[in-house]
């Protein structure tokens, strides 16, 4: 009777019997599957918020672009640079150049109030003044509707995210800010990055409108290559006339998102954890009732000579299978319901809105399925042990 092949075929048989009896127990089975599907769907859904937010922040940055701020400023908002400084930055070694000049854009921004389309309440939106090279510095910026604004005019272009989220940003309409009206002449996309939450205009126009004199807040510079960063940075930080902080764009955006990402991720795991516990109880319930419903059947099998080990494994296999089905359904649900769902939130560190979409990444889907497998394992273990320990004679008597 011994031998691995024999044992293996025992396991298959017992499992098959178990699965065949599912139609009779379909209520309990459905309940467990739905329970696990629910857990996975919610977990993946909530974590996709964080993933989406993080993605916006990382897609925004590219390793061959650098941002220069005033030393000690952790965000652009509190930074200030003179035009002199921005010129030095533009002429630094490592900065890529075209026939028109260095790929460097000195920028400043203000926060304006625009109404959220859905609620009508005000939101903080960044209005950024850029230099002409801005579009080339950020490699993924494209005008998707209308045209680029003209220098010297108070025209603006809006990012796709901003245009979707906030009112008054359609091509042809006029954005009303304070006392002024700014005609919207175009919409741009930026590969899903933060820039899509912003509204852009000419830097000099913005300076004049907001009495900024000739000062800026940051410089974005495209480098000849990612490796050129160190050379670029050193030349600026070793210059005694300057007091600046040089950071890769990718790092900068990563910093910007830590608080919100952390908050959402913590909440997501907390919720998911509690739900998983609930799902474990539900799975245990199902498997215990499965075992008790099949008591006579299991006892008969064992009386016939099927080893208790094969019974344990088959109960666990059944539990795992149900859990996997539940996990797959939940993951699928999350993907169809949440992926790409557009929303916005406030980034405390920049004080303004960031528009983003929920992102159900493959990693999240896998994680969801792994959770369901773990639930299935725990949910099946104890009932499996109980099934193996059934006193055969008593069970056979039970009608």
């Amino acid at each position: 009777m011994a031998g691995p092949i024999n044992w293996f075929s025992q396991v298959i048989s017992v499992t098959k019997f178990g699965l065949m009896s599912i139609p009779q127990r379909r209520g309990a089975v459905a309940a467990a599957v739905i329970g696990i599907a629910g857990v996975v769907a919610v977990l993946v859904g909530v974590l996709s918020i964080a993933a989406g937010f993080k993605r916006v922040m990382t897609v925004s940055g590219s390793p061959d672009t650098a941002i220069v701020l005033r030393s000690g400023a952790d965000t652009e908002m509190v930074s200030g640079l003179s035009r002199e400084t921005t010129r030095i930055v533009a002429d630094s070694p490592g900065v890529a150049r075209t026939v028109e000049g260095p790929l460097s854009s000195a920028e400043l921004f203000v926060i304006i109030n625009l109404p959220i389309r859905t609620t009508g309440t005000d939101a903080n939106v960044p209005l950024r003044g850029v230099e002409p090279a801005a579009v080339q510095v950020r490699s993924n910026v494209k005008i998707v509707e209308g045209r680029m604004f003209e220098r010297g005019k108070n025209e603006v272009i809006a990012g796709v995210g901003a245009a979707k989220e906030f009112g008054g940003l359609d091509v042809g309409s006029k954005m009303k800010v304070g006392r002024y009206e700014w005609p919207v002449v175009g919409i741009f996309s930026a590969g899903g990055g933060v820039a899509e939450s912003e509204v852009w205009t000419d830097a000099s126009v913005l300076q004049a409108a907001y009495n900024r004199g000739d000062s800026f807040q940051s410089v974005s510079a495209r480098l000849t290559s990612p490796q050129a960063f160190q050379q670029f940075k050193d030349s600026l930080t070793s210059n005694p006339q300057l007091n600046v902080r040089v950071v890769r764009q990718t790092e900068y955006y990563a910093e910007q998102s830590t608080m919100v990402t952390k908050l959402i991720t913590t909440l997501g795991f907390l919720i998911g954890f509690l739900m998983a516990i609930g799902a474990v109880f539900s799975a245990l319930n199902t498997m215990y009732s499965a075992v008790s419903a099949r008591t006579r059947e299991i006892a008969t099998l064992r009386a016939l000579g099927f080893g208790s080990g094969s019974v344990v494994v088959s109960v666990m296999l059944e539990s795992l299978l149900l859990a996997l089905v539940g996990g797959a359904i939940g993951a699928g649900l999350a993907y169809f319901a949440f992926d790409g769902f557009q929303t916005a939130t406030i980034n405390w560190q920049s004080f303004s809105q960031v528009t983003f979409a929920f992102k159900v990444t493959p990693e999240l889907l896998v994680r969801g399925v792994v959770w369901s497998v773990m639930i299935g394992l725990v949910g099946g273990l104890f009932p499996a042990i109980r099934a193996a320990r059934l006193p055969i004679a008593a069970a056979l008597r039970e009608l």
């Binding site: 209520g27 309990a28 459905a30 309940a31 467990a32 739905i34 329970g35 629910g38 857990v39 769907a41 919610v42 909530v46 000690g72 400023a73 952790d74 965000t75 908002m77 509190v78 203000v110 926060i111 304006i112 109030n113 959220i116 609620t119 309440t121 005000d122 939101a123 903080n124 800010v177 304070g178 006392r179 907001y210 830590t258 608080m259 908050l263 913590t266 909440l267 907390l270 919720i271 509690l274 739900m275 516990i277 609930g278 109880f281 539900s282 245990l284 319930n285 215990y288 009732s289 929303t343 916005a344 939130t345 406030i346 405390w348 560190q349 004080f351 809105q353």
Partner: protein, 386 residues
């Protein structure tokens, strides 16, 4: 109730199954409690807003500054009782992660405007006598273990002192508590005169962040707000004035539709629980067909049998709900899990009551179909299945 013993005994029938179901329900309500507290933390500021207060900010955006001189003009507007200002300092204490608000204010006016901040009189006196003095809320004081007399260094990312440095130092002269559970006790407040005098020339001297106005008659709030904005129309800094509640609400809206997200999550959780528990109850009834037949034979009416089943599911749900809400209460009273980042963290009474109502509804919903099943059993058939 004489039937209680019968109901309870039925629940004890399969102890393991009942326990597991109870635990699932318990977990759902713990989640409910925690999410309620988080939601309250993120949007509850609105409820704490003073009904008689308005916020006045620069019309273009909150980060633009307003002249200090506006205060006098505001107080001359009919309907305005008091106006006082605050400014965003943007300081960092040791690490950017340790975020909390620090604002320069005019002490006497400020405390007058915000009676929900409770400060012992001798501490208030100390503050008025110490130029570099600051009062801090209990939440932040506990977070960093500050005591009265401590010197606290804060690095401002916006404001430099006249010597060029950005490192400001304050003396903790008072620790304030909130009058209500929901009052925010994270911010630190220091003296505006020290701030204005010490800050570098050309860098916003005489300019402040925003004003808070107390109106004489809260029902006149909207009119007074309009008057304020009219007063400053066509000035160098135009204003936008709105009730404090609306202002906070707009901020909450910017965080995202928290209430909706929380409701959606809880909805999914309870829907799942409903299915699972409902299925358990159905099973339990099906197993007892014969017994239910006996009860009917003895003379229990259909209505009574229905009530018995509903009472079982109801009892299970209510006990699970009470335990879950209780556990949530215990966890929440241990304090803010983010370590002071949230302005408040408590379990609103209103949500506790909602939770209880939901547990009753859950009991009824999970028992409904099984109870109908039981009610409709034909006695003779049932007896045969015993």
């Amino acid at each position: 109730m004489k039937f209680l013993h019968l109901i309870w005994s039925n629940l004890k029938r399969k102890k393991l199954r009942t326990t597991l179901t109870l635990l699932s329900i318990l977990v759902a309500f713990v989640l409910f409690g925690l999410l309620s507290a988080v939601k309250q933390a993120l949007v509850g500021g609105v409820e704490m807003a003073g009904a008689d207060r308005l916020i006045v900010r620069h019309k273009v955006s909150i980060i633009q500054l307003l002249p200090e001189s506006y205060k006098a003009r505001m107080e001359r507007i009919p309907g305005v009782a008091l106006a006082t200002h605050q400014t965003w300092f943007g300081g960092i204490y040791q690490d950017p992660k340790n975020f909390f608000m620090q604002n320069p204010v005019v002490p006497e006016e400020f405390l007058d405007m915000h009676p929900e901040l409770v400060l012992p009189p001798e501490q208030k006196k100390a503050w008025l006598q110490t130029r570099t003095g600051a009062i801090v809320g209990r939440n932040t004081a506990d977070r960093f273990h500050w005591k009265i007399g401590d010197k606290v260094p804060i690095q401002s990312s916006i404001w430099s002192k006249s010597d060029g440095s950005r490192l400001w130092e304050f003396d903790i002269v008072g620790i304030y508590d909130g009058k209500d559970k929901g009052t925010d006790t994270t911010p630190l407040f220091f003296r505006y005169d020290y701030f204005d005098e010490a800050r570098r020339a050309g860098w916003g001297k005489g300019l402040v962040g925003w004003y808070t106005i107390r109106v004489k008659d809260p029902s006149q709030a909207a009119e007074v707000a309009k008057r304020v904005d009219e007063e400053f129309e066509n000035s160098s800094a135009e204003t936008k004035t709105e009730p404090e509640g609306a202002f906070i609400q707009a901020w909450a809206r910017q965080v995202g539709n928290i209430a909706l997200i929380v409701a959606a999550i809880l909805g999914a959780v309870f829907f799942t629980i409903l299915l699972v528990t409902g299925n358990t109850m159905s099973q339990a009834v099906r197993e007892r067909t014969g017994e239910l037949g006996v009860l009917k034979a003895i003379g229990f009416t259909n209505a009574q049998v229905l009530a018995l089943v509903l009472a079982e599911s109801g009892l299970l749900a209510i006990v699970g709900g009470l335990l879950g809400l209780g556990l949530a209460w215990l966890i929440i009273s241990r304090g803010d899990p983010t370590g002071g980042m949230l302005p408040m963290f408590f379990f609103p009474t209103r949500d506790v009551l909602i939770g209880l109502a939901i547990s009753v509804a859950l009991g009824l919903a999970t028992g409904f179909f099984p109870a109908l099943q039981a009610m409709r059993l034909r006695v003779a058939d049932a007896l045969r299945r015993m």
